[in-house]
Symmetry: C2
Subunit: 269 residues, 2 copies
Amino acid sequence: MDRNSPIGVFDSGIGGLTVLREITRLLPNENTIYLGDTARVPYGSKSKETVERYSFEVANFLIKHDIKLLVAACNTASAYAVPKLKRELKIPVLGVIEPGAKAAVSVTSHNKIGVIGTEGTIRSSAYCTAIKSVNPEVSTFTKACPLFVPLVEEGWANDEVTALVAERYLCDLKDSGIDTLVLGCTHYPLLKETIASVMGSAVTLIDSAASTAAEVKRILSESNMFNAKTGQAKHRFFVTDSPERFLTVGRRFFGDNLSEAELAQLTEN
Amino acid sequence: MDRNSPIGVFDSGIGGLTVLREITRLLPNENTIYLGDTARVPYGSKSKETVERYSFEVANFLIKHDIKLLVAACNTASAYAVPKLKRELKIPVLGVIEPGAKAAVSVTSHNKIGVIGTEGTIRSSAYCTAIKSVNPEVSTFTKACPLFVPLVEEGWANDEVTALVAERYLCDLKDSGIDTLVLGCTHYPLLKETIASVMGSAVTLIDSAASTAAEVKRILSESNMFNAKTGQAKHRFFVTDSPERFLTVGRRFFGDNLSEAELAQLTEN
């Protein structure tokens, strides 16, 4: 394993770019390779078996590109596939759920944490398990919000339709007395304003992206694996469907630096 | 080819069940095999190359089950893959676009037809091409409505959120003076009431499902391929992801007769 190798980051599509953005902000000297599995997006409505299979196919592709660390920048993949990826791969593997859970536990004052995410992430109970393993005293309240992703992808993040959907999805969480809400899907940071205005200022929103980037930094630091070369870091982007839509929608997540994406051919697991 | 063989019907997921329902209503003596490609749903936001590849993999699976006719009960697959499927397969192949286009042309009085569908279907211009090949005098007006599918799948077909989204998507079409609107996605028949209340009673809504079923009947009749055996017709259902969600959501489309679905293993094309 070479310390000058890139960090591998994957997601079902474009959402993981919010995590990549935080990693490149915190570690501007690191090279990265991102893969969005846009030919099979979304993962959030699919079964554990399917998401696990897809995640291994993607991981194998990135490993062939000689990555030194793998980040599953997708909550559903983190919930369903990261435990097995950690067991079977020879490089460090990191999901977004543990960092998000730790951040939420450190913030809650009344030990009441809410979690929102895709159907798969919520069904897996992965956040509740991770939160309770940090502090068993915490009560968790969850809600799947399947329309949030298509609303963000439509570009309606700040829109009356999205506000109405958020009111509907979040009303029970609001009544539950939580003081902390985990945004358990990489698309949701783009809805921060809308969600905050429904939940009110007494509820702290937790975005896993920043805490995941901090965890990446900690792992590289502990293993002395920071990139030794300085200069312009390289960022490569791969997708499994044609790159056009990824580039258009992806800029909402990553900014104008996203100018090129290559087509990846995955090998079936 | 055996006249007692089943009719093969496929879709990216559950939407094609609206077409299957019309086929089984019109041809209650025919056996059918349905495949929903739920591990890779949706097709509507993906590229032509990817949708074509997926459609061939699904078609090959159904052909191994000895179907006598193939129906692409998915507008995006019909737009992107049916031309090539027709050229390369040895059995009759039918999409939903030509029947829908013919039905719309036969209904319009002012030669102004609107078409709504997924991003892929609208981008392909397949409906406009099909409509103009029947009557070049007709003007067409189109709009992609990507949120309609997730709204139906959430079970919000008749809901104030969906009404608001429909108002937004359809306002330009309403101002265009169309008298006929093609529901160019198999999910949209479940939104008929909402769409009708936005468009008003002067606009006729065209649902391809019934006209596609009529076209299936015509082909079987002309080629003398009706099932010769009478008795209880058999309906098999296959999916590529685990069947649970398909069965739950699919009942909204097909009714309580949908009780069992098998897992299909597709071979890469």
